[in-house]
Symmetry: C2
Subunit: 79 residues, 2 copies
């Protein structure tokens, strides 16, 4: 996501369009990117550290963007 101090014209356009489309009660909209990475093997601390490095070095532009790494179970996982 763009850092809070960075203007987000796309999000602002969405926010301005909402009341016109009948949706009230949304005070802010920010638009960002999302990457889904499928990891081979276990998602342990080492894998997470590598993924954070990946995000920092080239998935995100950390001059203007923040990022969060979140682990999701694959659909249909049994454990």
């Amino acid at each position: 996501m763009l850092k809070p101090e960075i203007l987000d014209p796309q999000g602002q356009a969405v926010q301005r369009a909402l009341p016109r489309l009948g949706f009230e009660g949304i005070s802010d909209v920010r638009q960002g990117k999302r990457f889904e990475l499928e990891v081979e093997g276990p998602v342990d601390d080492a894998a997470l550290a590598r993924i954070r490095e990946m995000a920092e070095t080239f998935l995100a532009n950390t001059v203007i963007e923040d990022f969060v790494v979140r682990v999701d179970e694959p659909a249909g996982a049994t454990s």
Copy 2:
């Protein structure tokens, strides 16, 4: 996110670049969009239903995209 059956050239480009950059062990990358909506008042079932309708009617293109609505506490929330 793009539906699984829809080609994602951006994600593929990222995936192909990873080994070249020294990151191994990622079997798939998909790139998508993410919107952060700040809601006035409680995020109850009615608010969530409205947000789902918003996502379906104009934040996502449901012909080619799936979407998930997730509730996050605001940073610094006390409850």
